[in-house]
């Protein structure tokens, strides 16, 4: 959304601004429109009221950078300007990210920008996606997400997330669902389609059927913490990348989660910093470690990233994915982790950054 608003704001000067809006970016939009639109002077409505209407409409159509669509605002906007096509035309001329007068000039129209239509499609679809995903069986959800990531060559974050944060039987269930849906095994497709350095780690993670008991060996944890440290130290000079290191992949892909947490704890004790910090050069590896160590902390980070200004399409879609998939498992822990990390209640952050039915759906899913 940001890109569409700054397009209009790029040649703004500090002209008169509309009444203070909670979205500072909007101010940039208002100024150039007034300068550019000569018809504005002929309108009977005073510029400030016109600006209000435009602001409402812009918010209704695009959520002003938040997620989802403000359906109520949109409905009331649609009821406006009946039999006043010239006002609608003015709106089109003023909303430069959505419409392009130059592109359509030959035909005498302000043509819709295709990219913006895609953006709207995504925003309108958030509520539908949340509802459908909520209703689906968790295993089918995970299988569909994994398939989507593999076949659209998206970053493998979702694969790591599903493989590392689900219980062993749930991951197995997701693999079964994947077979039922796509007639291939998940590991087959991961091994075939992921051709970069992360391949062996990803295949290992999605194939894992970890022991789920609490039995932990401190000696083994110490031994493996040292092995991990040795791998990290030798990584810069090694022939292959750290993420391809056999020892690292072996430990992360086969040990039980309690055992791994002990290993990570001992690593921290031995080196004074968490393992994740030493994995900054390998995002896939770092994410795996975060997911295995503390899913709620990892998820609260993903959620926060969805709200940031430069969130891309995958980062925003992650909000629905995380909230819907964790509603039945560790939502309370995620709320605690979020509050601890960002000093705000999760529900408040969601309410602030989302709109319309999508917002209500998410708040309902999060619960009190």
């Amino acid at each position: 959304m940001q890109q569409f608003l700054t397009q209009t704001g790029s040649n703004s000067s500090a002209a008169t601004s509309p009444p203070a809006s909670p979205q500072p970016r909007l101010r940039q939009q208002q100024a150039p429109r007034k300068e550019r639109d000569p018809q504005n002077k002929e309108k009977e409505a005073p510029p400030a009221a016109m600006a209000d209407e435009h602001q409402d409409l812009t918010r209704a159509f695009a959520g002003l950078g938040g997620l989802g669509v403000d359906e109520t605002a949109l409905v009331s906007a649609l009821g406006r300007w009946r039999r006043q096509p010239e006002k609608r035309a003015q709106f089109r001329r003023g909303f430069l990210g959505f419409f392009s007068a130059s592109a359509g000039a030959v035909a005498g129209i302000e043509r819709c920008e295709d990219e913006y239509l895609l953006h709207l499609q995504a925003e309108f679809a958030r509520f539908k996606d949340a509802a459908v995903l909520w209703a689906m069986h968790p295993w089918e959800r995970d299988a569909r997400w994994a398939h989507h990531v593999l076949h659209k060559a998206h970053p493998p974050q979702v694969l790591v997330e599903v493989a590392c944060t689900r219980a062993a039987d749930d991951l197995l269930g997701a693999r079964r669902a994947y077979q039922a849906l796509y007639h291939r095994s998940l590991e087959e497709d991961v091994a075939y389609r992921v051709r970069d350095a992360n391949a062996s780690l990803l295949v290992g993670l999605v194939s894992a059927y970890r022991y789920e008991g609490a039995c932990v060996s401190e000696d083994l944890a110490t031994e493996e913490a040292k092995a991990l440290a040795a791998a990290v130290r030798s990584a810069p000079a090694a022939a292959t990348k750290l993420v391809q290191n056999e020892q690292v992949v072996r430990v992360l892909a086969t040990r039980s989660k309690p055992q791994l947490r002990a290993t990570f704890r001992i690593y921290m004790e031995l080196h004074g910093k968490p393992l994740e910090e030493d994995l900054a050069a390998e995002p896939c590896l770092r994410e795996a470690v975060k997911c295995l160590d503390s899913p709620p902390k990892y998820f609260s980070e993903v959620i926060s990233r969805a709200f940031s200004d430069d969130a891309d399409r995958q980062a925003k879609a992650a909000l629905t994915r995380v909230l819907v998939s964790r509603a039945d498992t560790d939502m309370e822990d995620i709320k605690d982790a979020y509050a601890r990390q960002y000093g705000a209640k999760l529900a408040d952050a969601v309410a602030k950054n989302t709109h319309g039915h999508y917002k209500d759906a998410l708040l309902a899913i999060i619960g009190k």
Binding site: L172, R175, R176, Q179, H183, R184, S185, L186, E187, E188, A191, Y192, S200, V203, G204, S207, A208, Y209, R210, Y211, E212, G213, C215, E246, R250, A253, T254, R255, S256
Partner: protein, 319 residues
């Protein structure tokens, strides 16, 4: 077709437990009585007998059997008492203890079970050893052998045969050929391990078929035979044979185990007979054995083994 025979009217677990106790009492053990009961009960019945015995006589039936019996007979009965999933978990665990020699057992368990059966084995392993099979295999093996074994053990193959892609089979037959041409030490085996370790069995068989069409020889014959100390080439060959034709593979193991010249390999003999006597494929294994050997499996066992061990194996085979 399974070969064990269960009487039409089965005594209750209590009766069986009492009969077993009687067999243990007094001087020595009545091994024939033990065989006549346990070799003719299926997995569920054996479990009920064990529970009943423990409940009534306050000791573990398996432990009593271990103390009363001995030698190959005892090992065979011990493994027989478990249900199929646990048995394979126990065998796999024993193999991880000396993985450099016993890795074929792990390959067998990983490649000759259906995906669901393999999951049951892994679950049984969790319950018995409080670790996962993958952990133990990964920790004890090294190099290419580890990569291969871990892939085989972790995979959850698609079990259907409705999605075989012949284009893919042809392209993967090329990959197999390339890897086979180069020695394992030269690298290039990741792709081969990927194919063998993740594709469905139907897809793999199609790939092997394309290999045979292209290169006028089966994959198994093309795979290097050398005495590689790491064991990787042999493990690879075992995996390919297990996927391509499990009955033929097991028949070969049995033929090697009952070879006159080399002395009897009771461990392998026990393993195969005890593992398969109550599975559907025993009939096919016996048929494959007879095709290649000059006698039936029963005849070979009768000739090469003796005593209670022989009686027990023959009872499992339905003689």
């Amino acid at each position: 077709m399974a070969t064990i025979t269960v009487p039409r009217v089965v005594p209750s677990p209590a009766e069986d437990a009492a009969a077993l106790l009687k067999a243990f009492q007094g001087w020595g053990t009545d091994e024939q009585a033990v065989i006549s009961i346990l070799a003719h009960r299926d997995a569920t019945q054996r479990k009920q007998i064990a529970l009943e015995y423990e409940h009534k006589y306050s000791e573990s039936l398996i432990q009593r059997l271990q103390s009363e019996l001995s030698g190959d007979f005892e090992r065979a009965v011990y493994h027989w008492m478990f249900d199929p999933a646990e048995r394979q978990a126990v065998m796999a665990n024993a193999a991880t203890e000396c993985i450099q020699e016993e890795y074929p057992v792990i390959v067998e368990v990983a490649c000759t079970n259906s995906s669901a059966e393999l999951v049951a084995v892994k679950k049984a392993y969790h319950a018995l050893y409080r670790r996962s099979l993958e952990e133990d295999v990964a920790a004890r093996a090294t190099g290419n052998l580890r990569t291969l074994l871990l892939a085989l053990v972790s995979t959850y193959r698609y079990d259907g045969d409705d999605n075989v892609d012949m284009e893919l089979a042809r392209s993967e037959a090329k990959i197999v050929h390339e890897a086979v041409r180069r020695a394992a030490a030269a690298g290039g085996h990741e792709e081969l391990i990927r194919v063998v370790g993740t594709r469905s069995k139907a897809q793999l068989r199609a790939t092997f078929g394309c290999f045979k069409d292209e290169h006028r020889g089966s994959v198994t014959k093309a795979l290097p035979r050398g005495d590689d100390p790491t064991g990787y080439p042999r493990a690879l060959r075992t995996a390919v044979r297990c996927v391509a034709d499990p009955s033929k593979y097991f028949a070969k193991v049995l033929r090697n185990a009952t070879r006159e010249s080399a002395g009897t390999d009771e461990d392998s003999l026990t393993r195969v007979v005890v593992m398969h006597a109550e599975k559907d494929d025993m009939g096919a294994i016996c048929a494959a054995f007879q095709k290649r050997a000059s006698c039936t499996l029963e005849q070979a066992i009768a000739k090469e083994t003796s005593g209670d061990y022989r009686s027990f194996l023959l009872a499992l085979l339905g003689s």
